[in-house]
Symmetry: C2
């Protein structure tokens, strides 16, 4: 297959590109390097150094013989996206080219407006570019389990559910309630894509993914092929942040009481799952929803796992509960369905306990680099704070 | 009260400003005149000529003694909005400053992206400006009954409803499914405002209004005070378009089979209802939803009413069913609740049959002006059309 990966320079975009090439596909990457800049903007950087795009493509060629094509560009510019699709005529487009940090989206009005317009406009541009170039191109949307919040019902793998409202039956879009502007952009994207599916029959896979952790995939066999690894308060998700904290000998910063449950999966399992969804597209005109995670774990579960693993490596770390900067439930029901990926043959290869040692091991080599950005770990953006000082 | 009206130059913004001043309030208008330009962009213009903002403010002063303040500006510029709110310290902000045409939003990718980012960014800017200046300012959001689509359940006046999903109970946001990018921006705005209400407790009235028709309010007593009146395929809603068609002796262009039911109200009743909602704000921190309409009518009902009224004025017009350019159900259940406005003392003063004669009478004086834009009446944007020719 030929696959365009929008956001190919990202934490997930780069390893997925490698995996797809390893599986014999033609990959065309697109990125505007926004994440590289935005992570520096908050005073941080990837814990693991990464090469520039030309250099990582060169390394992939030398090490694995992969030939990857790349276009630098911004998907909020319709002309760019249209040109790439017209030139490349891909079978599928994977859309990772969004601002992906919840805390970054909550910094202030500028970051909120940027996140909303950037993500929504990029996704609508993709809808139009596919319909203009070839409606048979399958769109693969990266959603998030965070679109659902923590509902009291079992989270289905379907765009619509049957309900009864005040005694009358109807079929409604699966209810969502997100927890940050970033997460809301994913809900808005879902609604917009569902509308395009209804009106134009665009073929879509909407992946509701939980937080991803880890440093490696089967193809990341050399440090020149590393993917970025963020750990600061804005860009680092909980597992990756805990691993860095343990390497730095800092207490693990669990937010609130730590009862928040999410569905986690490793980077390796994420690229495996994504490849399966791309290689097995839905029927033409279908809107397929897939929940994507491996283990349901609470923040406290993860803190204990990291603490235990660190201990095995001779590092004693404490668990520290810091005020939760977010607005989220501390104790809640959580039961997402997962049937689509298993039906395609997905068998998770790794549990979190299996690879934390390898993650911490990888990170130890960059300890002095991480020390430099230590100050960026503690929460700086609190959801509840009024933007009262904001007169910009 | 002091009230900021964003979009004060619009069809509804101008008459509401007049009404609020007539009721003794201080009104500060804001507008960037985007609608004046966008209507000309599609080759049309207001059927009734309107004065420039400085001239209409002058006329309101001369005729009624009203003193209206005005700031020219774009609400997608946060600095402008923040400055106005900081200077004016209003009790409430009414937000009409959005791109309001469904067909315009569906023209192509540029119009889709503009509508999405313009409406969403303006609304998020307003949320932040209120929270920064004074969280006690009540926000009055103009939503639309179109956010709901045509559901099979009774449309409640509440942001949340109780449901059972696969045997488990939960409280979810009232289900929505919009029918154009424009209508989706209103859904996205609702979700964003609900989130701001949850996190910051912003006080909100979310008005789900049906289509508004008519040329007059009690304050529009002189032609210098007229509000715009659009009738072309992009900017004219069904009643106003039918009235113009009857004046021009053209067949009334009913879309599809004409069974589409919506909740209509006159301009006079709209400004009365809006004034009641503004003067009776919800409790601090409350998110109040009000459905706003007077009569449930189908397109065929309206066509018959206009035909009959025209006949009484000596004009014979035919009803012509044209291919529906939109994607909407032709026959459907429709039962929106309306309790909030009556509880505030709202008594509709006019039914459609009562004022169509006056509307057509007003329009007859501008027949030669309307003749010039006759070519803009037939549908030009068809929802189902692929954007295949779009290579811009």
């Amino acid at each position: 297959m030929k696959i365009v990966v929008l956001g190919a320079d990202g934490y997930l975009g780069w390893p997925l590109s490698l995996r797809l090439m390893a599986r014999g596909h033609d990959v065309v990457g697109v990125d505007n390097f926004a994440t590289r800049k935005a992570v520096k903007e908050v005073g941080s950087d990837s814990a693991i150094p990464i090469l520039s795009m030309p250099d990582r493509i060169k390394a992939a060629k030398e090490i694995h013989g992969f030939k990857m094509k790349f276009h630098e560009g911004d998907v909020t510019k319709y002309e760019l996206l249209h040109k790439v699709l017209k030139e490349e005529k891909p079978d599928a487009v994977v859309h990772f080219a969004e601002q992906r940090s919840a805390p970054y989206s909550m910094i202030d009005v500028k970051h909120a407006a940027y996140t909303l317009s950037n993500n929504i406009v990029g996704s609508v541009n993709l809808i139009y570019a596919i319909m203009a170039v070839d409606p048979n191109i399958a769109s693969v949307k990266m959603g998030t389990m965070g679109e659902f919040g923590t509902p009291n019902f079992d989270i289905p793998e379907s765009a619509f559910v049957d309900v009864e409202i005040n005694g009358r039956k109807d079929r409604i879009t699966t209810p969502k309630f997100a927890g940050s502007w970033y997460h809301w952009t994913k809900v808005h994207d879902t609604n917009n894509l569902l509308f395009a599916n209804k009106v134009w029959g665009i073929t879509a896979t909407d992946i509701m993914q939980g937080p991803v952790y880890g440093t490696r995939t089967k193809e990341i066999t050399d440090e020149r092929l590393h993917t970025r690894f963020d750990f600061d308060q804005a860009w680092g998700t909980v597992v990756n942040r805990f691993c860095v904290e343990s390497v730095l000998g800092m207490p693990l910063t669990a937010y609130g009481k730590g009862g928040q449950i999410r569905g986690y999966l490793s980077l390796e399992d994420s690229v495996t799952a994504l490849s399966l969804l791309i290689e097995n597209p839905p029927k033409k005109g279908e809107y397929r929803v897939a929940n994507q995670f491996v283990e349901l774990l609470s923040v406290n579960n993860i803190a204990s796992l990291v603490q235990k693993t660190a201990k095995g490596l001779g590092i004693n770390v404490e668990i520290s509960h810091v005020d939760n900067p977010r607005v989220e439930a501390d104790t809640h029901y959580y039961n997402p369905e997962i049937k689509v990926l298993p039906s395609l043959g997905f068998h998770p290869s790794l549990k979190m306990a299996d690879i934390l040692g390898q993650v911490i091991g990888d990170l130890m080599r960059y300890k002095s680099r991480m020390e430099k950005f230590k100050g960026s770990i503690m929460p700086q953006t609190r959801w509840r704070d009024h933007p009262s000082a904001d007169t910009s």
